[in-house]
């Protein structure tokens, strides 16, 4: 049989003709996938628009200079913009302070766990330890908050820090650090594990010890992923709400004493939104200014991380 006769069959159609139905399907898939990609981006833009729109209203009452330079936060007591103080530094400092404490806990332990899992643990141990760690990352943060308030604080009070207050930034931040460990460990473990075996063998063949291979060859090779995990951890700490709202209290004060209560930006937003501030009131307006500040902070952090990861990305 020749090609001609085959073409003649099949209801006289040209076999090489494009299939219209197929083209439609292809195009449809493309459109759906594109829509998925745009939904998150457009939503983000929408949020930013609302956030900054409302914040702009607030800054017409309270100047941005006051917002950045005042050293007290008394928005809850203010009925007019003049009789309150709106120093964001109070809330921002609480956020930064708690993040620092949490990072002191989470970054070294998370990285250590990642190195152990990837380089030292046997394959069998790694197989169940890593999922276990990742499950830990799924514990709701409210549980951590209760843990801080009902266990860690009383424990510290009864043992080494009798002067600690019921609501304090220290327990909340320590527990937040513990919460972040799985994130840091899991993401950096992925990066460390992805370093090709050939690189390790090259180091072993030069007479490197296991420790030298792990710390001087493998970790530097995975540094961009490790930094990404750190930033992810820091971002979670900056944005963490429930632990802070539950265990750190609601006292907006500027202090460096971790045994006292402090109010982070997120905890403040929780307090206002769960209270009875009517829409349009001054206190209601403040949360958009605080939210916008939080947004700018995390955006900055992510931008730095993005730059860093690209700058130090390793090609193996």
């Amino acid at each position: 049989m020749t090609v001609e006769t085959r073409q003649g069959q099949g209801s006289g159609q040209n076999l090489w003709r494009e299939s219209r139905a197929r083209n439609v399907r292809e195009r449809l898939v493309r459109v759906v996938l594109r829509a998925c990609a745009y939904v998150s981006i457009l939503t983000t833009f929408g949020i930013v628009f609302v956030l900054f729109g409302e914040a702009f209203t607030f800054f017409q009452d309270v100047s941005i200079v006051r917002f950045l330079t005042e050293t007290q936060w008394t928005a809850g007591f203010a009925t007019t913009p003049e009789d309150g103080e709106f120093g964001i530094i109070v809330l921002a400092w609480a956020t930064i302070f708690s993040t620092i404490i949490a990072c002191v806990v989470a970054l070294p332990i998370g990285l250590g766990a990642a190195i152990y899992l990837s380089e030292y643990a046997s394959a069998g141990l790694r197989r169940w330890l890593k999922p276990a760690l990742e499950i830990l990352a799924g514990v709701p943060t409210i549980v951590y908050g209760f843990f801080a308030l009902t266990f860690v604080t009383p424990f510290l009070q009864g043992t080494i820090l009798p002067g600690i207050q019921i609501y304090n930034i220290l327990s909340a931040s320590l527990v937040m650090g513990v919460m972040i460990i799985p994130t840091v460990a899991s993401v950096s473990e992925d990066a460390i594990y992805a370093v090709p075996r050939g690189l390790r063998e090259g180091a072993y063949a030069l007479g490197a010890t296991k420790r030298e291979v792990a710390t001087k060859v493998v970790v530097p090779a995975a540094i961009s992923g490790i930094v990404a995990s750190f930033v992810l951890g820091i971002s979670r700490a900056v944005g963490e709400t429930m632990i802070m709202a539950v265990a750190a209290g609601a006292l907006a004060q500027l202090t460096v004493n971790p045994l006292e209560s402090m109010q982070t930006m997120t905890a403040y937003i929780v307090q206002v939104t769960s209270g009875e501030s009517p829409r349009g009131s001054l206190e209601y307006e403040t949360i958009f200014a605080v939210g916008a500040t939080l947004f700018v902070m995390t955006l900055l952090l992510n931008t730095i991380a993005y730059w860093f990861v690209r700058r130090f990305r390793e090609v193996y």
Binding site: E201, Y204, A205, L206, G207, A221, Y316
Partner: protein, 292 residues
């Protein structure tokens, strides 16, 4: 070349490391034949290698002569790479892998109970099939191994010397601060050779070092090899029979008779004999290209 970084423990591996370099300098590679296997070659006795319950190589005995190039050839999957990795205890780095038998460097069994694999690898270096430079600068790639081994001399000099030995210096001398990954594949492989040389091992093992490279890079690495045997004992696994014939003094042919059996050393002799008049039929079939 007195070497201050050798410690007592290392001296156990090679009985007279200080004299060794001097001897070599005096005699070059030429007279190493009469030095025999007792000098700084290697003697392998009844070596078998396993991956878990799978036996990959069985019962290999071989004398590797000092200051000679020994090539290991044979069809894929016959255990050449596994075998060469046993010679500096790299095999056991893979989880579940182990080796049995005796491997002597000088008169020390590197598989003896009190032998530290880390120190053995400092004396028996290795270059791998795929170039694997570190994610460090070209300079650091070469300096790193020497530094972790406690090298106290002039590092710039060592780096330059090693890169020259590996025939890479002219191409990289103006960009030592650049990443090792900025080099081409062939250059990366020569960087890995330079890094191995900087540790000043006794023996250099090469596992198909040119298999992923273009002919020009391969040529450069082969030229390097000829220089290297002046100061080192070289063992090279290669798939390329012409390469084995060109560069080696001795050749070992690995072969698996039946599917599923472990690989064996089928024949081992001087390269000239192996390629002109081998004793066994399979060797002849392989070197003449009838299979493999």
């Amino acid at each position: 070349m007195a070497n201050p970084r050798r410690t007592k423990e290392e001296q156990k591996v090679t009985e007279a490391p200080q004299n060794r370099r001097d001897t070599k300098k005096g005699t070059g590679g030429a007279s190493s034949d009469d030095a025999g296997a007792s000098a700084f070659g290697m003697r392998i006795e009844n070596l078998s290698a396993h991956y878990g319950s799978f036996k990959a190589v069985t019962d290999v005995s071989m004398d590797i002569r000092a200051n000679k190039v020994t090539a290991l050839i044979g069809p894929s999957g016959c255990g050449k790479s596994t075998y060469i990795r046993c010679l500096n205890r790299m095999h056991e780095v893979i989880p579940g892998a182990r080796a049995e038998g005796r491997v002597r460097l000088g008169d020390q069994d590197i598989y003896a109970r009190d032998m530290d694999p880390v120190r053995i690898r400092r004396r028996i270096g290795m270059v791998f099939q795929k170039p694997n430079p570190f994610s460090k600068s070209i300079y650091e790639n070469v300096a790193w191994g020497a530094r972790i081994n406690g090298y106290k001399g002039d590092m710039d000099e060592l780096v330059e010397h090693s890169l020259k030995q590996a025939a890479l210096w002219e191409e990289v001398k103006d960009k030592l601060k650049k990443s090792g990954y900025d080099l081409s594949g062939g250059q990366q492989q020569r960087l890995c050779i330079a890094r191995t040389l900087a540790v000043e091992p006794e023996v250099i093992l090469m596992d198909e070092p040119a298999s992923a490279l273009d002919p020009v890079s391969t040529q450069k690495i082969e030229d390097t090899m000829d220089q290297l045997k002046q100061s080192y004992t070289v063992v090279i696994v290669t798939h390329n029979m012409q390469q084995a014939a060109r560069i080696s003094d001795y050749t070992g042919f690995f072969y698996i008779e039946n599917m599923g059996d472990p690989g064996r050393l089928w024949e081992f002799d001087e390269t000239e004999k192996m390629f002109s008049n081998p004793d066994r039929k399979e060797t002849e079939d392989y070197v003449t290209g009838r299979f493999g």
